[in-house]
């Protein structure tokens, strides 16, 4: 069944159809929320809420974009709102993820031909990048997650964010630069002599 058909059924109250939509979109939505909020629990909660809001709001969804894109926007907005509230609440501006949770939840990825040392390094790299990701601004974090984790295209990202594609492209470039800057500040992430740009 196509997404359109599932959405139509779900709109009529078909819970099974909606359950399928959940299955189809949960990984993307969860990862967006998990990375935007910086921790798995808030991520899971916001992701659940996004689906619930989608269910409630199906009547208002008229297929202007794909359901996936619409849902992504719901989740993204909810996370940004959450981060703003959190920031006001907290004296420290950023959360730091717990390394243990980080390691436990990550998908198992075979490093092609990598020896144990390299695999360990890779895991540390991931942790370092995850930390740096939490330290860049929410707007930068948002586009980085969309582009690099969810693999959304420029066009899709511009639909989700309601921005011109040109704006999306340059925001992504700046986000990447910001992330790199964080990692340089942290330490020897890139090894060797690095650029001062």
């Amino acid at each position: 069944m196509t997404e359109q058909e599932l959405v139509q059924r779900a709109r009529e109250g078909d819970e099974l159809a909606f359950a399928q939509l959940v299955t189809d979109n949960e990984k993307r939505i969860y990862n967006l929320c998990r990375r935007l909020t910086g921790n798995p629990d808030d991520g899971a909660e916001l992701a659940q809420e996004a689906f619930l809001n989608a269910w409630r709001g199906l009547g208002k969804f008229h297929g202007e974009s794909s359901f996936a894109t619409w849902l992504y926007r719901l989740a993204s907005n909810a996370c940004i709102d959450f981060l703003r509230r959190e920031k006001r609440r907290r004296s420290l501006s950023m959360t730091v993820s717990l390394d243990d949770e980080e390691e436990g939840r990550q998908a198992e990825l075979p490093d092609q031909g990598a020896g144990p040392e390299e695999r360990l390094e890779r895991a540390e790299d991931r942790r370092a990048i995850a930390r740096a990701l939490e330290q860049v601004s929410p707007e930068h974090r948002q586009v980085l997650v969309m582009r690099e984790l969810s693999g959304l295209s420029y066009a899709e990202i511009s639909q989700v964010l309601g921005l011109e594609e040109g704006t999306v492209k340059s925001r992504i470039a700046r986000a990447r630069a910001a992330l790199r800057k964080r990692l340089l500040a942290e330490g020897n992430f890139f090894g060797g002599a690095s650029s001062t740009r």
């Binding site: 109250g13 959940v22 790199r180």
Partner: protein, 291 residues
């Protein structure tokens, strides 16, 4: 020509495969002569490689949790927010049964005189509650925008008594669903009470005389055999069983106790007797001791 100013943008576009071949060549030309930009390109490429590996598996039970909340959504505006949400179809069929029981018991007259369109106070007896829940459930059921009646709508196939209740409960007053003037069909003999109730709950179709009688009979008979005062068996209030109820319930046997759960109904008769009934078969599973 690429220069340091454009380099960041072009490097980023290149990572996403968005440069034209011409632009790509120009970028490479620049990187060949500019160590700063070359390092930038290397480092952004490294991030681009590793970032996707941050993708995690969805936590276990996620979809289940979502669907539980979705299901809970279907029941809207239950009065006094008591107990756990009950699937709205069951409410509707039960509402139909109880409303007609009341009609049969002759208390219908009270409701005819009520002015329509106002919210009854909390603690009103079942028909208005349940009909209201039914109407609200439909109004509140998220995916449906149209007010048009659907197969499961309260209006279809219900007797005139319940139509009246839903009309009153619906503030807008215009219940298009309630337009058929049909009378409830005659009962066909049904094998068991349980099966009949199941049918009603599952398909939400017209309730026969036998089914309506069965519910009243269940409660009355139970009260009699258990030695409790049958009281004014006419007034029934039906809500969802709460956790407190489960803990306090007295059940005649282990089988009944095992079957009793948060999906079942607590039925208040008269002023004090509370029976706990199976939501599928509507038989009595136990009662709450009066304190």
């Amino acid at each position: 020509m690429c220069d340091c100013e454009k380099a960041l943008d072009w490097i980023s576009l290149d990572l996403d495969g968005a440069l034209t071949p011409q632009e790509r060549r120009e970028l490479e030309d620049h990187l060949a002569v500019c160590p700063g930009c070359a390092a930038l390109a290397r480092e952004l490429a490294a991030l681009h490689r590793v970032l996707p590996e941050l993708e995690e598996e969805v936590p276990e039970g996620f979809q289940q949790a979502v669907m539980e909340r979705v299901r809970a959504e279907k029941v809207q505006a239950l009065p006094a927010g008591r107990g756990r949400a009950v699937p709205w179809r069951r409410w509707l069929s039960l509402a139909a049964v109880c409303a007609v029981v009341l009609a049969g018991a002759g208390s219908l007259g009270r409701f005819w005189d009520r002015s329509g369109g106002t919210e009854p106070a909390a603690g009103e007896t079942l028909p208005v509650q349940a009909a209201q829940a039914g109407a609200a459930a439909q109004a509140g059921a998220a995916p449906q925008e149209e007010a048009a009646p659907q197969k499961e709508a309260a209006g279809e196939g219900q007797g005139p008594e319940l139509r009246l209740y839903t009309a009153m409960a619906d503030p807008s007053g215009a219940r298009e669903a309630a337009d058929s003037g049909e009378v409830l069909p005659e009962a066909s003999p049904l094998p068991t009470v349980g099966a009949a109730m199941n049918q009603a709950a599952a398909q939400n179709e017209d309730l026969t005389e036998a089914q309506r009688a069965a519910l009243t009979a269940n409660c009355a008979a139970w009260l009699q055999t258990s030695g409790l005062d049958p009281a004014e068996a006419g007034l029934l209030t039906v809500e969802a069983v709460t956790q407190t109820d489960l803990e306090a319930a007295v059940c005649p046997g282990e089988d009944q106790r095992a079957r009793l759960d948060l999906d079942d109904y607590r039925v208040t008769l008269g002023s004090s007797d509370v029976l706990l009934c199976d939501s599928a078969t509507l038989e009595v599973l136990g009662y709450l001791p009066t304190v």
